[in-house]
Symmetry: none
Subunit: 411 residues, 2 copies
């Protein structure tokens, strides 16, 4: 597999306010033709550091793509520094100069003298025309290496890459299909997932497998490459199937769905409905359920009963139950689930009560303690969890766990 | 000015799916104590490239901060490669191992054997305790250089940096005070904010001013530097005051608060309470209000009345009103606000009804149409908005607008 590096050039990306996002798009396009991105560098308007970054990249990687720093000002040093590293002269490209002049003339503005710099091209480079701005790009071959200089603004960079660079790279790479599969997992720690999955995926170098953690959920990303689409799909199916077997029902999607989409689809298909009664999660569970378009098919109503009085008045939780066990208790979670199910006339009722913190924890009931009750026509069950993290994270984990509990009940 | 480099480690950041955002936060904190970020490298689980990145960074820059790759799996190579470059042995730190074991035990899970690796520490390094996860960080001095290894997850990395790393770096940097002020703005477009603010801030080079847009909200970031804290604060106060004057009451915070924090503090100070009745936002308004610790002081309950039946049964919205005007109408928003206020016995009631899409829009009632009703002891008022964007963005804008409407009512 050919490998590439991306160098993003511009001091604004070394401030707290701006990030390089061009490389995400470029990575997707490069991956799609079978080129792997192995390193990214973000460097400012700093000639020494840029020179070193370019030298290192050309030594390590077959394809080097630089974005930014092709503007008309003193700060725009990309052209100059690449020419120095590649020991090529910069020569004035007259047709480009005329084009830039015409661009300004069209807007009724005389071309500032500094824009002349944008018509300087490295000797031996292929000029990449810019139809959405003034700065042309360049593509240079140096032995087995290919260097590509692209403008920074996405609306200039993207069409230039798509029309002028990708075809050249695709020819170098040959016909190659890269497909991906994502397994979404809930209910195990990252290390436990790896313990189960590594003995399977380490036997394969193609597909490659990456583990990601996101909001307490685990994702396994598989990437396969082959000379035909069906061969790549076959590789994914084989490893994906074995991983699903090894992991079991903690895998909730292999189609990049969210938990609420999986749950929603399952409810809808069976004609079930769900109603929610939330205390510590304060509406976030209902918020997630209703994030899915069409959720009105299976979600009619929910309540947020933050105070004890609300739990009593809106859900019929007996006052004595709260007094005997506390608002954060299995008994109250069950009563909330039953209460909301009954009042809403839903197939399922979910009740959540817990201590999201930062205050309110005790030795017996620490911050992070959450009870999740699930009621159906056969009765109600509750689970007890102690979630780590801050208030926000505890609430997110509680919502995820509630969604997953419902998923497991339906499947 | 001291300079720093940041190395973000993890193959997921070389895919199209994930980007390094830790460095934005770190850059802000480093800038705030007078350290400039000169280069960022993003490298995968690739020992050779990581080794080179670390070597280069330590040669070029006084401070090198690495994030990520401290997890328990084979892919987590940061510890090992730093130890190799710095020629230090990795030794097992028993108290850390016990802490990791206890963390698992607290959650009732046995520690997987692979987690033992996270208790390996470089000889001579300062251990950085992790109170939000298993992997500790490290700080190593090598002559004039300082290397810092931090975990990748932001909720682990940020508190570790703030409490254990920043004080050490601040001591090295000495006296230069960089202070920031953020004006948070809601209710005007970016270009309108700039029209009002630019005539004021362009007269200053210190503080510098940057405009950012985030979830439909505008932020003005002012950065001042001076030899004393009071001098820097004085510069911020002067320009900040003038900008607030130019912008008026669209500025809802100058202390980096969220809308729900500002609203919550105002409710609390006055002893007011609020209850929510949500249709299209499906619980997200209550979710935002309860994101604030201590929100139980002013929030007791809310309902999500997604279906018409729920609006009628839970809020007393007259069926004829829905039949005459439709569920998405000013009349229904007002009735929801009144209904929930009365049932909850709250100072304020908020009702939200709208069309979040993607389906359900008509010419008369397009996707994005949202009515927000606010009821108090004098009656009820509603506003009508048409929000742009997708389902998610429409819901976020509706919640922000509801919070801001309440803010303006209280102040």
């Amino acid at each position: 597999m050919l490998n590439a590096e991306i160098i993003a050039i511009g001091s604004e990306m070394l401030t707290p306010f701006r990030i390089d996002t061009n490389s995400l798009w470029l990575t997707e396009r490069l991956n799609a033709i079978g080129v792997e991105v192995r390193l990214k560098t973000i460097v400012g308007d700093d000639e020494a550091r840029l020179e070193e970054a370019i030298r290192d990249a050309l030594r390590r990687s077959e394809i080097v793509i630089a974005t930014g720093g092709l503007g008309p000002t003193e700060d725009d040093i990309t052209r100059k520094v690449f020419a120095r590293v590649l020991r090529r002269r910069l020569v004035l490209h007259h047709p480009t100069l005329e084009k830039i002049r015409a661009r300004f003339a069209h807007r009724g503005i005389p071309m500032p003298a500094i824009n002349e710099r944008q018509a300087l091209i490295m000797e031996g480079a292929t000029l990449l025309e810019n139809n959405n701005g003034t700065a042309p790009g360049m593509l240079v071959r140096e032995g087995e290496r290919t260097a590509v200089l692209l403008p920074g603004p996405p609306r200039e960079m993207k069409p230039m890459y798509s029309t002028l660079v990708e075809p050249v790279l695709r020819e170098r790479v040959g016909e190659m299909f890269i497909l991906r599969l994502k397994l979404s997992i809930f209910g195990l720690s990252e290390s436990r997932v790896d313990e189960l999955a590594a003995p399977v995926y380490t036997r394969y170098t193609n597909p490659t497998t990456t583990i990601l953690v996101k909001n307490g959920q685990i994702e396994l990303h598989l990437t396969a490459q082959a000379k035909s689409e069906s061969a790549a799909q076959g590789l994914l199916d084989e490893l994906g199937g074995k991983l699903e077997e090894a992991l079991g029902d903690v895998v909730y999607s292999r189609r990049d769905e969210t938990l609420e989409e999986v749950v929603g689809e399952a409810l809808r298909r069976r004609g079930y409905t769900v109603a929610t009664a939330e205390s510590c999660t304060g509406g976030l569970l209902a918020g997630r359920l209703t994030e899915v378009p069409g959720s009105s098919h299976y979600f009619n109503e929910g309540v947020i009963t933050y105070s004890n009085e609300a739990k009593i008045a809106r859900l019929g939780v007996p006052r004595e139950l709260i007094e005997a066990h506390g608002a954060v208790s299995e008994e109250v979670a069950l009563a909330m689930a039953r209460g909301v199910r009954e009042r809403a006339g839903a197939t399922f009722g979910i009740g959540i009560t817990g201590i999201a913190g930062p205050g309110g924890g005790t030795a017996a009931k620490p911050v992070g303690l959450v009870y999740i009750g699930l009621a159906d026509d056969e009765g109600a069950k509750a689970i007890r969890m102690i979630f780590p993290g801050d208030r926000h994270f505890i609430r997110v984990l509680a919502v995820n766990t509630a969604l997953d509990t419902l998923r497991r009940r339906i499947f």
